[in-house]
Symmetry: C2
Subunit: 468 residues, 2 copies
């Protein structure tokens, strides 16, 4: 067994001479096996090892017995041992996290703390080949991509290593038996035991009986291949990201160069995701939909803007993509209603919400065929259909419009939902009404009621300019 683990360590370049390795030691069979093997390979590998145990205070008396066990084992083996107690229930409530995620956060914070204080440079965790197969099957059923299919990484950032990922659960059990070790048996852990057990007890045995008795090995082999493919694509994407993503000095604006969009879709989508994650400085999981929205935006005309979650605004600027913030400091929630008398049109620019509006009147007395250059932010209307006023306001409950080309009225609410405008953005969108009817939901739709026809004599042109 030691030999197998040793060649896995060498093949995957997990450990080098002089490493100081902290073993995450729960006291269960896997981590006991890992600790034992590393201890036995210690001289051959020329490493130092230590053990860290977090008491999650979750399982009453059992948790303290685990802690005691861990301390005794380390004393026996003369391994430095670091123990900490954290009330994970309390922590998860305070931080609004699942106990699973809370446990992981606290554990890794604790490990990092020891790394710094005690001069360790690597953390070894005790995932085995069955954990790997179960993880892959679980992700596959829930929905995943290349990253997810890579499964548990053999090593991450040259800091976290998994030396017994090559051993099956049965091999670990055999080792424990042969060495006459007496691990603590976890009665719960922080994974979703219920789903995990279904995979372990139903799905994998079914596959073994009906399709492939070596399914665990098969999936582990696949994961190693996919990890390499994924690593390549990720490295390549980061190279492209650094080439085509420019930031201003204080990283408040990112520009994705238009040349980016000539790269392969597999790369472009990853670069966009990197940009969004990097820009928002959060682990918010942007959906593929948002990424494809930006891809689409890059093919649209300049000036077009879409809003994303996390207060992100994305704009097409002559093919480049600008990512900036709709952060509340810059945003004006305009509560005013500005009415402009028909006779005053064109005399002044109107500042409303986050836009500047310029209105002008064109004459088409000669009845020539019209060649009006419109865009998302430049629209034309039949001036003669306005009785008195042009009104600038934002939405109210019950607002309706007859969208261009349709006959019936539609609720603005439904339009916003259909066009996937985030709730927090809806109060920012200016509505331009002629008398008491909505003529333009700026940037989105115009009304059929005021459209320009061949019979229109006087045409109102409105240009909206988004303010920075």
């Amino acid at each position: 067994m030691n030999k197998k683990v040793l060649s896995y360590i060498i093949d995957n370049n997990l450990i080098k001479s002089g490493d100081k390795i902290l073993v995450a030691f729960s006291g269960g069979p896997d981590s006991l096996c890992l600790l034992n093997i590393l201890q036995e390979l210690k001289n051959e590998l020329n490493i130092e090892i230590g053990a860290a145990h977090l008491n999650h205070l979750l399982r009453g008396e059992d948790a303290f017995k685990d802690e005691e066990f861990v301390i005794n084992i380390c004393k026996e083996k003369n391994i430095p041992c670091y123990v900490k107690r954290v009330d994970i229930n309390k922590y998860s409530k305070e931080n609004k996290l699942s106990s699973e995620l809370a446990g992981r956060n606290v554990r890794y914070d604790f490990f990092d703390e020891i790394l710094k204080k005690e001069g360790f440079n690597k953390i070894a965790t005790a995932h085995n080949a069955n954990d790997q197969a179960e993880t892959i099957i679980f992700r596959l059923m829930r929905g995943t991509g290349l990253e997810g299919l890579s499964g548990i990484k053999v090593s991450r950032d040259n800091k976290i290593i998994r030396p017994i990922l090559c051993l099956s659960r049965r091999e670990v059990e055999k080792y424990i038996e042969e060495k006459d070790l007496n691990p603590r048996i976890d009665k719960t852990n922080f994974e979703k035991i219920y789903n995990r057990n279904k995979i372990r007890l139903d799905i994998i045995p079914y596959i073994q009986d009906n399709f492939n008795k070596d399914i665990v090995k098969t999936l582990n082999r696949m994961s190693l291949l996919i990890q390499k493919d994924n690593a390549f694509i990720e490295r390549f994407s980061i190279k492209v990201y650094n080439e085509y993503c420019k930031k201003d000095n204080d990283s408040k604006i990112f520009i994705l160069d238009k040349k980016l969009f000539k790269e392969d879709e597999a790369i472009v989508t990853r670069v966009i995701r990197n940009a969004l994650t990097d820009y928002s400085q959060s682990h918010y999981d942007f959906e593929m939909k948002h990424i494809y929205d930006i891809l689409e935006l890059s093919k649209k005309e300049t000036g077009k803007i879409i809003d994303l979650p996390k207060n992100i605004s994305v704009e097409n600027i002559y093919g480049d993509i600008k990512i900036s913030s709709r952060s509340k400091e810059n945003i004006i929630y305009d509560k005013r209603e500005i009415a402009i008398n028909k006779k005053e049109i064109g005399k002044e620019k109107i500042n409303f919400s986050n836009y500047e509006f310029i209105m002008s009147i064109l004459n088409n007395q000669s009845n020539k065929s019209l060649n009006l250059k419109e865009s998302n932010l430049v629209k034309y209307f039949d001036l003669d259909k306005i009785r008195e006023n042009v009104l600038f306001r934002t939405r109210k409950n019950g607002d309706k419009i007859i969208p261009l080309g349709m006959r019936g009225q539609k609720k603005l609410k439904d339009i916003f939902i259909n066009m996937k405008i985030p709730k927090e953005s809806r109060d920012l969108i200016p509505l331009i009404c002629f008398d008491d009817e909505i003529a333009w939901i700026v940037g989105l739709k115009i009304s059929d009621s005021f459209k320009v026809t061949n019979n229109s004599k006087n045409i109102l042109k409105i240009v909206a300019k988004r303010k920075e």
Copy 2:
């Protein structure tokens, strides 16, 4: 439904105006649905369609009823129809293929024939979203990589297209019902029905009930993502392949430039596979093991050679990798035994098997510490341990050697098996014996019996040069 398929066609760029599309039409629900939808979209897409049906003569009367049904439907719809009858059982026996593979080969040959004769430019097949999910689960269980996880391709080589891959089996059935179509029900097809049914009737329902009721959609979404990742890696690999793989005029020798091996492993392994497939001009599925053997070889010393299946020989030449043939014309199966008297050593070069051997004697009377530059094909022996003869021969039953560093004898057969030397290569390997004991299995192992020690006075140097 038409709308859904139309936008799938547009999103994936499957059809362009003017295409002439041949529908693979079995008469079953899926292909009937596909034919019907394409017929209804015909004008909108500005395409022509035809139908092709291969009667496999496998299901007695039923096969002829299918054929009749297909012909009638096409007559009704005024669609040109091409039918051919092939005895697949006979064909599969004659060509030693599974009836599954035989059916596929004959079908696609038939389609290609019609494409050429009748001016069609695309073939449409009727795989649906459930077929996709089942294919992915099947491959995953059997073992696969990125290519396999991509599943059924939406389109291949801009020639084979799958326009209803976006429809679930239920949607196809609903369509058939609504349109009051009466498809033929396949009682068998050329897929492994048994496994397929287990996935369809056991695995997918289990996942739907316990994990994810949208599993079919989930896997289809994954497959689209993976297809893009796979396409990128494949394109990139081909670029690298063209850059670093040089061929001689008649493609009898391929050289992989040493610079290749600095690329990412994901790319290097694909380039090696391409080179092997391209060189052997066969669809032989080289194992990952062979590919890693070549990767390893690239790190070894110049002159080292490994043998692969399909008569391929791979050699390290100063870090470059040369792929060439061990084809029988060039290979000498040397049946001779050449004995050289100890006194004659060094007088002549010895030509034996596919090598030329040069022997020379070094003196170490001064007892200086030795600095012998050895390699796979350059070895040193203690001359004084030879009584009379140096003998060149190839293997015989029962041959044994005491490998360097070991005490006991090992069978050559076991050594060949352990070192994974293909059977057909074993008779080519020269054995150099001193008197009646094997001293060198050329290129592989030397004997412990004749090793050079600090006490050796006279040293025999043997250089083996592989002949082109």
